[in-house]
């Protein structure tokens, strides 16, 4: 395929993905906004003032970056895993499979679609957050790069999930049993400095900790973790996932018999 054809194929997939989640916005955009707003109300207005400061910031200000990132993670992941799985399930994935579109373009197209939903939700949630906290940005480049990389990483994760999924339940297992716990334990609601040394060490094994801290640094300028390490870990995971997905796509895992 010529570069121009590749560009057209890529934008076709992206547009289709974006159209899909906008069409069903009640399932894709509304729920995260409602959930996150509830967190803001409960922790910002009701409980937050009683907790006091965290690492020198008002509690609501401390948790906002983590909550935004959590929404981005969940939505990037869910968009790709459910869209790709349902394309497999309806067999409409065959439309792309029989075409000359290269595998890497298929992967990038779906991942971009997932990132688009993650980021859109992120923006909406951020706007809502401004009603509750004085959302200030310490470093715009850090904030933006961390959120982009994280959205990409989890979109890639969602793709892998979609490839492996054989039934609809398989799409919700990973978010429920792995992603959500890791996010909660990754320091959305607390600084790991509050934990005893042993649990601090354990927390360092959680990749989401690095993302939340990187993102929080972008807003507040504080982090439990070295920023360079955060980038290294996110990028390493993203590269690995990209490579695994591409291998599986080329061999036809889950989509060719």
């Amino acid at each position: 395929m010529s570069a121009e054809s590749v560009r057209i194929a890529y934008f076709t997939i992206v547009t289709k993905e974006v159209t899909r989640f906008l069409r069903i916005w009640q399932q894709t955009l509304l729920p995260p906004v409602i959930t996150t707003s509830l967190y803001f109300v409960i922790f910002g207005n009701l409980i937050g003032p009683r907790i006091g400061d965290m690492e020198g910031f008002r509690y609501i200000d401390f948790i906002v970056p983590g909550l935004i990132l959590m929404a981005v993670i969940t939505n990037s992941y869910a968009n790709v895993s459910s869209s790709f799985f349902s394309a497999k399930f309806q067999r409409s994935i065959e439309e792309i499979q029989v075409s000359p579109t290269p595998e890497w373009v298929i992967l990038l197209g779906y991942v971009t679609g997932g990132m688009a939903r993650g980021l859109l939700v992120g923006v909406v949630v951020s706007v809502v957050a401004m009603l509750f906290s004085g959302l200030t940005v310490h470093s715009f480049p850090v904030m933006l790069s961390v959120i982009l990389l994280t959205a990409m990483l989890f979109a890639l994760g969602g793709f892998l999930n979609g490839l492996f999924a054989r039934k609809f339940d398989d799409v919700s297992i990973v978010p429920t049993f792995i992603l959500t716990p890791l996010t909660y334990l990754g320091g959305v609601f607390y600084s790991i400095n509050l934990l005893p040394p042993f649990w601090q060490a354990v927390s360092h094994g959680n990749p989401i900790l690095y993302m939340i801290n990187g993102f929080r640094y972008g807003f507040l300028g504080i982090s439990d973790i070295d920023l360079g390490l955060s980038y290294a870990i996110i990028i390493a995971f993203a590269v690995a996932l990209f490579w695994i997905n591409l291998r599986l796509l080329k061999t036809g895992y889950g989509i060719r018999t």
């Binding site: 121009e4 067999r91 029989v98 075409s99 000359p100």
Partner: protein, 307 residues
């Protein structure tokens, strides 16, 4: 002569161990209208799946207009259009979105795609439905949508897997007309079907696959001439109590007013009516009992048995 499709020793063993294709070889000439016949489970869709890249082959080679799918799959794919047996589009998208997206996957610029979408959706009688949800199309419309979709990149070879399954007779005939026209305009066509009259009316050449092997590969004319016998059912005006004397052998009385008769090609129907007239048996109506395609398969198996 260029081959639109050339398949050599194609073998497929599914993960469950089933050997669906046992090394088939086929060649379809450019411009041909070719039928692939075979009973349920013979391996037709498996072969098509391999050709269009939805099924991994176990062994063998496939070339589309001399492009080996292992060497340059993107190029081979752009020469090929497929209409699968099962519906495989997103039911939440509209027909227009479906064909436009398909063009996009082939890297076709939007402006060109829009023209083609209008042309093919109109030719397949779907233009009025272009903005409806495709879930709400009837079965026949869904099939035509898949044909329009397969034509968006104007392939030189079009493969249709049972395109007329579940399509009423009127629409079937208009689909035949349509396919004949694009074949005349130069598109090579391969189709699978369970209707012999479809292959008979459209196709110049026929291959039969049976249990993963090509057991017949010849011209339609040649193949039909081997159709050795047909069974006819006669509805009689007056009941018979027993089979008339002349009827030994190839006649059967299956009900008081129904007779069945085996007729071979050499015999023709005149002799049958002569015998009926001579015995004053009046026939109200007559119809073909067997599915002629089924008969063709049976004949072939018979012949093989005696070979």
């Amino acid at each position: 002569m260029t081959h639109a499709l050339s398949v050599e020793n194609l073998e497929k063993k599914y993960a469950n161990g089933l050997l669906a294709l046992k090394g088939i070889s086929l060649a379809v000439e450019e411009g041909d209208f070719f039928a692939l016949l075979g009973r349920n489970g013979a391996g037709k869709s498996t072969a098509i799946g391999i050709i269009c890249g939805l099924v991994n082959k176990t062994a063998g080679s496939v070339r589309i207009f001399d492009v080996d799918i292992d060497e340059d799959f993107p190029r081979a794919r752009s020469l090929l259009g497929v209409v699968p047996q099962e519906f495989n589009f997103s039911v939440f998208e509209t027909p227009l979105q479906i064909v436009m997206n398909q063009a996009g996957y082939y890297g076709i610029p939007r402006r060109v795609a829009e023209e083609r979408a209008e042309r093919y959706l109109a030719q397949l009688d779907l233009w009025d439905k272009r903005n409806g949800v495709s879930r709400e199309l009837s079965g026949g419309m869904k099939r035509r949508l898949m044909i329009a979709r397969a034509l968006m990149h104007e392939p030189r070879l079009l493969i249709l897997d049972e395109p007329t399954a579940g399509v009423d007779i009127e629409i079937r005939r208009s689909m035949w007309e349509f396919l004949r026209r694009i074949n005349e305009q130069g598109t090579s066509i391969i189709l699978t079907t369970h209707y012999l009259e479809e292959a008979e009316s459209l196709c110049r050449n026929i291959a039969i696959i049976e249990a993963g092997e090509v057991v017949e590969n010849t011209s339609t004319r040649q193949l039909l001439s081997t159709l050795q016998r047909e069974v006819y059912i006669l509805d009689l005006e007056d009941p018979l109590t027993e089979l008339p004397e002349f009827g030994r052998g190839r006649w059967r009385l299956t009900g008081p007013t129904t007779l069945e008769v085996d007729i071979s090609r050499e015999q023709g129907l005149n002799g049958v009516f002569r015998q009926l007239n001579a015995n004053a048996i009046r026939v109200q109506s007559m119809r073909n009992k067997s599915n002629r395609l089924e008969q063709l398969f049976l004949d072939r198996v018979d012949r093989r048995g005696t070979e």
